[in-house]
């Protein structure tokens, strides 16, 4: 059921160039705007833009998946099968993640195209970073964003959907996750809250490779797995509640 959901979502995505560009334009815009503030792109800014792009895609997808299953009437049909409701939905979200990964190179290319004069410096900076650090950052960012999406989908499965209700999550996560500025620079107590977002640990590791990047990546990975586990448990619980409350299939 997991792979079936993934295949379905990949097919639904219908990856046209226009769709890919439409997904990429927002993260490119934010990436360019904040990079202008710094003067030139850095590996951390590129990673922040990539993370913002992933989150922009995976923040909306839980809502799209849940509302589409409801409107098609397939949620109720799914709940009548022996398969837990959660797994096909997780499969669809995994498919959305694969689609979002296609958009990532476009985001990075768009950002570097605007600052094309800085490309040699960026490549030189990247070459100085250990490959395990880059890979570890990528894994923690991907897993962390996926985990947060799972939790969001679990919440939406039992909620009545209102247009625009998830829009604010983009700004909150980008702010608290320190996507474009170190957590220590956040006002008030936001930095403490930001520690709960796995991406913040990965980006801090990249910003300060001379610090304790391994520890930061391990903490980030552990947090990301916790978010994923939390999402799966929430989806499972929501699925069981749905099976006991028939009206939930219609509007949450």
């Amino acid at each position: 059921m997991l792979c079936g959901g993934t295949r379905l979502q990949w097919g639904l995505a219908a990856l046209s160039p226009l769709a890919v560009l439409g997904e990429a334009i927002g993260p490119i815009a934010y990436g360019v705007a904040f990079t202008v503030g710094y003067g030139a792109p850095t590996p951390a800014l590129l990673a922040g833009a990539a993370a913002a792009g992933l989150w922009a895609a995976l923040m909306i997808e839980p809502a799209v998946i849940v509302t589409s299953e409801r409107s098609w009437g397939t949620l109720q049909a799914l709940a009548a099968t022996p398969t837990p409701v959660a797994w096909p939905l997780i499969g669809r979200l995994a498919g959305s993640t694969l689609v979002a990964l296609v958009v990532l190179p476009v985001v990075l290319a768009g950002l570097l195209a605007v600052f094309w004069r800085s490309v040699p410096d960026v490549l030189a900076d990247l070459a100085q970073l250990p490959l395990p650090l880059l890979l570890g950052t990528a894994v923690v960012v991907l897993l962390g964003v996926f985990g947060m999406s799972l939790v969001l989908m679990g919440a939406l499965l039992r909620s009545r959907y209102s247009a625009g209700m998830v829009n604010g999550l983009y700004g909150i996560v980008v702010l608290l996750g320190g996507f474009f500025a170190p957590l220590a620079t956040l006002p008030g107590g936001f930095a403490t809250i930001g520690r709960a977002i796995p991406v913040s640990w990965a980006l801090e590791a990249l910003r300060e490779p001379g610090g304790a990047p391994v520890l930061q990546l391990v903490v980030g990975a552990a947090l990301a797995l916790l978010w994923c586990l939390g999402g799966v448990l929430l989806l499972g619980h929501a699925g069981r509640v749905l099976q006991r409350a028939p009206q939930g299939y219609v509007h949450g």
């Binding site: 439409g22 334009i25 927002g26 490119i28 815009a29 934010y30 360019v32 705007a33 904040f34 202008v36 503030g37 710094y38 003067g39 605007v114 600052f115 209102s162 247009a163 625009g164 209700m165 998830v166 829009n167 604010g168 999550l169 983009y170 700004g171 909150i172 980008v174 702010l175 474009f180 500025a181 170190p182 620079t185 956040l186 006002p187 008030g188 936001f190």
Partner: protein, 258 residues
């Protein structure tokens, strides 16, 4: 008096019926949380890279007004097609221009309200002190930003009425303003290509004027007038495009055509 009542009633009905984010969660998420988070991000990056958050916060607040204008104007027109009322709307005796103003009015007010509380909360968060005498000037800059970006919103609405996805055009407009509007850094510090694009878009001059006021300087009426002119040009182009769409729809009798 009757005309004023008709305008206000039409504005209120349009806002209630066609603004799909007008539900508690949607409104709080889209019109309170998102602009505030964006402004706080701007302020954080501004403080980290420039030593002071004030300019970036002012830019973020002006972006808040712009988004309210652009998305409000776009949704209030494009959703006529979404909800199948486009033909009825165009068949009314009310002139298209008057109807557009009626639809835009509540979103302008909404944008100003959003800017007010965003600025208040961001000022508290970053401990920004602005002279009380500057508040009226900031409000004037926000008003001009809202009016000028409403013109850009009208152009986006003209595309959205015609194309399948109503959010594509306003999203492009939003992203162009974020990149080229000089919200985070002054327009003069932008790469030349971005500055050139920003010069033909609304909002940039209002942001520059607002930054000047926030720094204790006088209100630059020349900048505000320039932004109004740019917005008017976009509005005229948008109106012309929308009128052409309407004429085409009337000829073919296909108001819901995409």
């Amino acid at each position: 008096m009757a005309s004023a009542r008709a305008v206000l009633l039409g504005s209120w009905l349009s806002y209630r019926a066609l603004f799909t984010w007008l539900n508690p969660l949607g409104y709080v998420s889209s019109r309170v949380v998102m602009p505030l988070a964006l402004t706080l991000i701007f302020g954080t990056v501004g403080r980290y890279t420039q030593g002071s958050p004030t300019g970036a916060v002012v830019g973020g607040v002006m972006i808040t007004v712009a988004f309210a204008s652009i998305f409000g104007v776009t949704l209030s027109m494009a959703n006529e097609r979404t909800f199948g009322t486009l033909g009825a709307w165009l068949a009314t005796p009310q002139r298209l221009g008057t109807s557009i103003v009626v639809k835009a009015l509540p979103h302008l007010v909404d944008g100003l309200l959003g800017a007010s509380w965003t600025f208040a909360i961001a000022s508290l968060a970053f401990d920004i002190r602005v002279p009380a005498a500057a508040l009226a000037g900031l409000l004037a800059c926000a008003l001009v930003a809202g009016l000028s970006t409403a013109g850009l919103g009208l152009m986006a609405a003209a595309f959205s009425v015609r194309f399948r996805d109503v959010f594509t055009a306003p999203n492009i407009a939003e992203n162009l303003l974020i990149v080229c509007g000089g919200a985070l850094v002054p327009a003069s510090s932008l790469p030349s290509a971005l500055a050139a694009v920003g010069a033909v878009l609304p909002l940039g001059r209002s942001i520059a004027a607002a930054r000047g006021v926030a720094a204790g300087g006088p209100l630059d009426l020349g900048l505000l007038a320039g932004d109004l002119v740019i917005g008017l040009v976009w509005g005229v182009l948008g109106y012309a495009f929308l009128s052409a769409m309407v004429r085409g729809s009337r000829r073919s009798g296909a108001y819901g055509l995409v």
